[in-house]
């Protein structure tokens, strides 16, 4: 089982969001409760932001 960092709270619904030890800044994770996309703002200490909305020119 993968180790996890201290779980930060979802900025939208306050649910705990477990991050793996391989978490990276700017990585996108999903809140297990409200399913919103969240961006890892900081790993140490773990901090989450609402992820930016997809823009028209995103993607390959």
């Amino acid at each position: 089982m993968q180790e996890t960092l201290v779980a930060p709270e979802c900025p939208e619904c306050d649910a705990e969001v477990s991050l793996g030890t391989d978490a990276r800044v700017s990585e996108i994770v999903e809140c297990p409760e409200c399913r919103l996309e969240l961006e890892i703002e900081s790993v140490e200490p773990p901090r989450l932001l609402l992820a930016p909305e997809v823009e028209e020119d995103w993607g390959e």
């Binding site: 391989d22 990276r24 700017s26 990585e27 961006e39 020119d57 993607g59 390959e60």
Partner: protein, 287 residues
């Protein structure tokens, strides 16, 4: 890594499967790499930049990727892919023009400079045809047009859009194809993997739910993909090919910041795409 090796950076505002695996692959190779967030980046023209000298461009937004590459290059940084490659790959017309100039097979395409001219072009190309935004991704707003009435409606909508770029219309003859296309991943002038992408949607984008299956790296396919990547100047490229009836391959597009999650899943432990890209980056830094 030798002490003389150039510093490496990965430019990305959104760390997805691809970026995370590339960063991890570089770490596994013992290569120091800086993660650069373009949202915090500014580059003063004519002033040396104190960041990495070699940067892999993995920015998800086309315009931010394009201008970041251009700005970094102006500061003396080597960017993979180059700003020029991103400019060509990110614009469907520029890609078509480059492929045609190189003599590579690509679907018949017309650029109409107004929606009115596009209607005439569609009548000449015949239906069904496809209207695509010049800049766009994941198959968004790509429209299959089956007759004149539908074409008139779509073009009326385009004419009503505020952006002048929307009034320049890229139209393409539809390629009668199987329910799949082929994605070939080219890294450093070599085709390293390929997948069929199948979909019930006529657009076979993985982002639209297409399913990937491994595709044999046959010579005709790899030669065409490598030539297409070379044509647009991309050293890391996802080349999309279509099989016409009879089996002839044609190049649909070349992606300069390629997403490879689907391809990686079909290869499992037989291919580490992220490490292949990391190896290319490391070699550039040491050369």
């Amino acid at each position: 890594m030798s002490s003389a090796a150039a510093r490496l950076g990965v430019l990305a505002s959104r760390v997805r499967f691809e970026e995370k695996n590339i960063l991890t692959a570089l770490e596994r190779r013992g290569v120091a790499c800086e993660q650069i967030d373009p949202r915090a980046l500014s580059v003063r023209a004519g002033t040396p930049w104190d960041g990495p000298q070699i940067v892999l461009n993995r920015e998800v937004g086309h315009y931010r990727a394009l201008y970041a590459a251009s700005a970094l290059e102006s500061a003396g940084v080597t960017v993979l892919n180059s700003a020029a490659a991103t400019a060509v790959c990110g614009d469907k017309w520029q890609t078509s023009a480059a492929l045609v100039a190189r003599g590579l097979p690509t679907p018949e395409t017309t650029l109409a400079l107004t929606p009115d001219a596009a209607l005439k072009a569609l009548e000449e190309l015949g239906y069904p045809a496809v209207i695509k935004p010049l800049v766009g991704s994941w198959g968004r707003l790509v429209t299959r047009v089956t007759d004149r009435a539908m074409a008139e409606a779509v073009l009326e909508h385009l004419a009503a859009l505020p952006s002048p770029q929307s009034h320049i219309v890229y139209v393409q003859r539809e390629v009668a194809k199987a329910d799949r296309d082929i994605r070939v991943l080219v890294v450093g002038g070599r085709a390293v993997g390929a997948t069929y992408r199948r979909s019930e949607d006529w657009r076979t984008n993985v982002a639209r739910g297409a399913v990937s299956e491994r595709c044999p790296l046959e010579a005709d396919l790899t030669e065409l993909a490598v030539a297409a990547a070379d044509t647009v100047g991309a050293c890391v490229a996802g080349v999309d090919l279509l099989e016409e009836p009879g089996g002839r391959l044609t190049v649909l597009e070349v992606n300069d910041r390629v997403e490879f999650r689907g391809l990686q899943s079909t290869y499992g432990s037989d291919l580490d795409v992220a490490d292949t890209i990391a190896a290319l980056l490391t070699a550039k830094a040491e050369s």
